[in-house]
């Protein structure tokens, strides 16, 4: 498949929301071990709002706008950053969504988050999953791999990026205050990004 449509984008987001809501306990536990323990709550309130916003929406841009707005109405550090991240998807996505669209969206999105949060890869944040996923999408688009394959590769890259945070010391966010205590704890933001790309693949 060269591109996918609004319904598929909507299904992707629905799967993402369902997975995350299913695993907020686990995500909160990670934030508790290396942060302030409200990550799951922040996420749940954003996603609850997203569901309301999404009602009936199936246009790709509109779907991501709905999610972005929900996050921009949410507190915590993750809320506004995810809000601006998803916003770049909304801006780039016009139906049908191709591998090139995905690469542009994810590239711009990671850049916005990096600019706002001032985090580099290796600082143990969501950026550690966002950047490799964007790079994988860019590489896939350059060889016209098609969106399905591109997203599978992005998911793998995001997953590896998220796992890499486990052994890092945090340099940004609240986890940076706890020093060595954060080592051994995967960054919940990065894990959420991995869940997002994993949800793309049926």
């Amino acid at each position: 498949m060269d591109a996918f449509d609004g319904a598929e984008v909507r299904a992707w987001i629905d799967r993402f929301i369902a997975t995350v809501l299913d695993r907020t306990g686990e995500l909160t536990e990670l934030d508790r071990q290396a942060g302030d323990g409200d990550y799951g709550t922040n996420l749940r309130s954003a996603l609850g709002r997203a569901r309301v916003n999404l009602d009936g929406t199936a246009d790709p841009a509109a779907v991501f706008t709905a999610v972005s707005e929900a996050f921009l109405n949410t507190g915590g550090t993750s809320g506004p950053l995810f809000g601006m991240w998803f916003r770049e998807f909304a801006k780039a996505f016009t139906e049908p969504v191709s591998d090139a669209t995905l690469a542009t969206a994810a590239g711009n999105a990671a850049a916005v988050v990096q600019r706002l949060g001032k985090a580099e890869v290796g600082h143990k944040t969501m950026v550690d999953a966002m950047v490799p996923a964007a790079q994988a999408l860019r590489a896939a688009a350059e060889r016209n791999a098609g969106p399905d394959r591109a997203l599978r590769e992005a998911a793998a890259a995001a997953r590896t990026g998220a796992e890499s945070t486990e052994q890092l010391l945090a340099r940004r966010g609240r986890a940076s205050y706890v020093g060595e205590h954060a080592r051994g704890v995967m960054d919940p933001g990065a894990l959420t990004v991995a869940m997002f790309f994993a949800a793309a693949n049926g």
């Binding site: 707005e69 507190g75 550090t77 809320g79 506004p80 601006m84 706002l116 949060g117």
Partner: protein, 330 residues
């Protein structure tokens, strides 16, 4: 909030208090419920000033909405930044086509959300400038997020508010705000910690003979314990690092803010004010303007902060300009 706080559902606390506050000052302000913000009842044709941040610091910022100070205040949940969209709504409501100065205390969440809101507003053609306030000397360090913003935000809001009423443009206001912030430093000490709504114990415990030195306004620990002492000793301990950091010398004039952290009594604050006058007079420095009261609180924390701002004739004159808000009027 203490145990047995006067509230209904803690999740509704900020919204209900905002409503109650607006109804208590109908001649000065109006509340928007969703998104939540407080706006001047009589908007003026000038550069707008918007500030905000976590709740629990009242009267900051809602108490300073009105002529000569803020146009809109945006309250977040207790000790949490307002959201980016909430701030964008506030900016939209405040803007009169002349741009909006965003007065932001230096905390990660506030910086992020105000920064995002500023970007979103720019996309809509609303010009903004961020005035970052970072006066808390206790958090001065080489790296990290920098000094926190505390009571000097009051001086920025008051003085820039006055300049805005006189027609200063956005760039001038941003420059003025930067000048105020760089001329102001604050230090605080707690004689008892605060209790977050819903919790049953204060965020830290002190022995009878110690105080927590260098605290912020979110119930966090300070930079160290000090022996409890007389108001004279404690005031000197707060004032001396400020004098040094600002390089204040004999003959200079300052604005002093002696600020109660929430549950500090007026008799205590007046005593600290007296000691501050005496202490500075001993160094040839005169307090020619002052504000003594509980203006930037941390729920029911006890203790006080002292802010010194080096005055020049322009700052003094703008400080003296009329202001008419729920918590500050002259």
């Amino acid at each position: 909030m203490p145990v047995r706080a006067l509230l209904n559902d803690p999740d509704e606390l900020v919204a209900e208090a905002l409503d109650g506050f607006a109804r208590s000052h109908p001649e000065l302000v109006r509340a928007s419920a969703d998104p939540a913000y407080l706006i001047r009842a009589d908007p003026a044709d000038k550069v707008a000033l918007v500030s905000g941040g976590g709740s629990g610091h009242e009267p900051l910022h809602t108490g300073f909405v009105g002529a000569g100070m803020l146009d809109v205040a945006v309250p977040g949940a207790v000790f949490a930044s307002p959201t980016a969209y909430q701030i964008r709504a506030a900016i939209r409501a405040a803007d009169r086509g002349r741009g909006v100065l965003l007065v932001v205390k230096n905390y990660t969440g506030d910086v992020l959300n105000f920064g995002i809101a500023a970007e979103l507003a720019a996309e809509e053609g609303i010009e903004t400038r961020i005035a970052l306030v970072d006066d808390d000397l206790a958090t001065e360090s080489e790296d990290g997020p920098g000094r926190r913003g505390t009571a000097a935000v009051l001086a920025v809001e008051k003085i820039c508010g006055a300049a805005a009423e006189r027609g200063a443009d956005l760039d001038q206001l941003a420059e003025l705000a930067a000048r105020i912030t760089s001329s102001a430093r604050t230090l605080a000490l707690a004689t008892a910690a605060c209790t977050h709504p819903g919790e049953s114990r204060p965020s830290f415990e002190l022995a009878a003979d110690e105080v927590e030195f260098g605290v912020g306004i979110h119930g966090e620990h300070g930079i160290g314990r000090r022996p409890y002492g007389s108001a004279r000793e404690l005031t000197a301990a707060l004032a001396d690092p400020l004098l040094e950091s600002l390089g204040l010398t004999a003959g200079e004039e300052v604005l002093a803010i002696v600020n109660g952290l929430g549950a500090t009594h007026g008799l205590e604050l007046a005593t600290v004010a007296r000691e501050l006058h005496e202490h500075l007079a001993g160094r040839g420095i005169r307090i020619t303007r002052s504000l003594v009261g509980s203006y930037v609180t941390a729920l029911d924390m006890r203790g006080c902060s002292v802010t010194l701002l080096r005055l020049d004739p322009e700052l003094a004159e703008l400080w003296d300009a009329p202001v008419r808000t729920p918590a500050l009027t002259w």
